[in-house]
């Protein structure tokens, strides 16, 4: 037990819900105590699309329960499928209170009338104390493993899958857009964005891509490794951060997609000339912003940030400490 001022990461269930919320056709069932479902409120306050989140609470009831009230996990799973005809996959997330209760989880999909049977992803590996990033990474791997079709032919032209951040990632949609724009410049199309903006059908067709570009390694690591091992889809893990990092990532994509390296290099140089090596929004802050400040970089990123970018810590400030937490 430790006394802390806060935590930087939520619990595993939060990571699974963040992941599922971004994928169309996936519905999450949160097994938790009544009142523990706070994702809808968070989503409403942080995102501006006005959508309701595809999350249903299956309350872990203590004591007497009305027979027709929600609370029976199997019935609740079946109810979700019945009430949401468009659902193609149901993913089960359990809060830490539910995990500590020691409740058994179902192993088969709930029976449905007709021939429709959405896949059930139970996240059986979830355990108390697990962080949201690790859980989101493993949940995405489970979803990809469940849906990615074997034996699909590669697309006739070079395409890649973009593995980026889930919902609530700061500027997540803009990151995907920028990466897609740069890839289009070198002649590569995006087969699927995962997880934000993905669909279940898109997950099925992931093996069509010529490669996977990992923008956000924390969540896409396991899924892209699975695609590499089981479907032979290579991956680019160079982070698109900083001018050199972005250029290196584009060159790696070009190699994977068998593009002309000279053409790619010319495109990268042309892009750098247009943008003065940095995206326009980097110019919003005056150059003195970090002068004289002591900067600590916290994060869970397993990769070093852009190696040649004049980082604030290096250029104007003394960095007392930087690294992983």
């Amino acid at each position: 037990m430790r006394l802390l001022n806060g935590v930087y990461e939520g619990p595993g269930s939060h990571g699974i819900l963040r992941l599922a919320t971004g994928i169309s056709g996936v519905h999450a069932v949160l097994r938790a105590a009544p009142g523990e479902a706070y994702l809808p409120a968070l989503y409403g306050s942080r995102e501006r699309d006005g959508l309701t989140v595809p999350v249903t609470l299956s309350p872990l009831q203590e004591g007497r329960r009305e027979s027709y009230a929600p609370g029976d996990l199997l019935q609740d799973l079946a109810g979700v499928v019945r009430r949401h005809p468009g659902v193609e996959a149901v993913i089960l997330a359990r809060s830490e209170a539910a995990l500590l209760s020691g409740e058994e989880i179902p192993t088969t999909s709930p029976p449905q009338p007709g021939d429709r049977e959405p896949a059930l992803v139970t996240c059986a590996w979830e355990r108390p104390g697990m962080g949201e990033t690790e859980a989101a990474d493993l949940a995405l791997e489970d979803l990809v493993r469940t849906h990615a079709r074997k034996g699909l032919e590669r697309s006739p032209y070079p395409t890649v899958n973009l593995f980026g951040p889930p919902v609530f990632g700061p500027g997540a949609a803009a990151e995907y857009d920028e990466a897609e724009r740069l890839l289009n410049l070198v002649g590569v199309e995006v087969n699927a964005r995962v997880p934000l903006g993905a669909t279940v059908e898109g997950l099925r067709r992931l093996p069509r891509a010529w490669g996977n570009v990992l923008l956000y390694r924390e969540v896409g690591e396991s899924a892209t490794l699975h695609l590499q091992d089981e479907h032979g889809v290579g991956r680019v893990t160079t982070p698109m951060i900083g001018a050199a990092g972005t250029g290196a990532a584009l060159r790696a994509v070009a190699e994977l997609c068998e593009l002309d390296p000279k053409f790619v290099e010319r495109t990268v140089w042309s892009e750098l000339a247009h943008t003065s090596k940095l995206p326009w929004y980097a110019r919003l802050r005056p150059p003195e912003t970090f002068d004289g400040l002591r900067v600590a970089v916290f994060g869970t990123s397993p990769t070093p940030w852009g190696s040649d970018t004049p980082s604030p810590a290096r250029s104007a400030s003394k960095s007392p400490r930087a690294g992983r937490t």
């Binding site: 037990m1 430790r2 006394l3 802390l4 001022n5 806060g6 935590v7 990461e9 939520g10 619990p11 269930s13 939060h14 105590a33 009544p34 009142g35 523990e36 479902a37 706070y38 809808p40 409120a41 968070l42 989503y43 409403g44 306050s45 995102e47 501006r48 699309d49 006005g50 959508l51 309701t52 989140v53 249903t56 609470l57 309350p59 009831q61 203590e62 004591g63 007497r64 329960r65 009305e66 027709y68 009230a69 929600p70 009430r83 809060s95 830490e96 209170a97 995990l99 500590l100 209760s101 355990r127 108390p128 104390g129 962080g131």
Partner: protein
Amino acid sequence: MTILNESGIPDVLHPLHAVTGLAGRFPGTLVIVVGVRSEAHVVRSFPGGGPGGRISFAVLDPQDPPGQGHLANLVVEAAGRRADTVLLVAGRTAAALGVDVDFEARLAARKSGLSVAAVDAGAPYANPGVLSTDLEDRVLAALVGLCPKRRTSELVEAASQAKRGGLFGLGGRGRERPAEQGRPVVLLGGALSPGSAAGLVAELARTGVQAAGVVPSTGDDDLPPVGEGTVVGVMDPNLGAAAGAARERGARVVRTLMPIGIDGTARFLQDVAEDAGARTSEVMRARSVWEELGALRNRVRGKRIFFAGDTGYELPLARFLADAGAVVLEVGAPRLDRRFLAEELQALGSGVDVVVSPDWRGQMQRIEDSHPDVVVASAGLHAPLVARGHLCRSPQDFVRAGLHGYEGARRILELLARTFDRAEALDALSL
């Protein structure tokens, strides 16, 4: 009035979201949230408004639960000389990991000499369901436990003083009938709107009843004694546990309407005064306030209002707004304690539907079908409903505005009038 039980999943904000607001409300108090990562994450995800108080997290390791006394040592170390009171708020997982937070609080209090109160945020209520204000209720119940007890000798003295002419001595300023009050009055509630508690104290003083104090205390006041012979006026409809704690101490909890709205305030003042041994009539005062607020009532008259249900304040709010001429389409009640709220339910107009355990998807459909003028929407429904073109207010807006007493009634009507005015101004832009 019809009560339906939908047995659905209501949209209710996690009760722990209120930790930051409560910590800010008690500046000299260190709040320690005991649980695993989930609890700390919820508290940090909802920073709340106003000045932040002092919050720490005792994060338990599920693989290595702490031994007995470990938490108490941590509390003593954390409190040091920097806090007068420590509030140990235990999440659901603390009990699951074998932490007896009551024991740890007692041990920490003995070791440090500080007041340490334990709050079990996950303890179930007798009635099923959760309200977003449950933590406030639990904290107030813990504070009642910290109030000094009244002794029998004080009761004898109080009775003789009352016979002589007043519990608090003679000659108090502005008291109309101090000689008639026989029992001390303590107000319970208003934790998140402290100004409105002070307003009610003043209203009580006008009727000749001097309040011995408020729980939670306002400003630098100490907690008032609560025990046998104390008359407790409960200000908020969500305080079932706190009222129960006062009752367990032998206090007399007044069964009346909540002091929300004009008629509610009038009944509250009358009934509290009567239980305290003073007689007063609020009929004239209530009538004059209704007249004063005529212009504001005209702004809400005929407006159709839907309460999704979240805080538990919806019932008295709906009662007042229906009396003021609004049409209340539905009152969602994620949990309904019929015995505690019997007076409120009786006073609710005949055309109001109360839906217990409402299903949030069903509510959205009913809102789409009926298209109310304003929806008092819970946090999860707020953004989707606004995106669909509905006019929404958060129930927390009403709570923070201070809805108790006659002035509270004005603030409720003003808040709604401002809502309609702004919507009309935006409509006029034809965006």
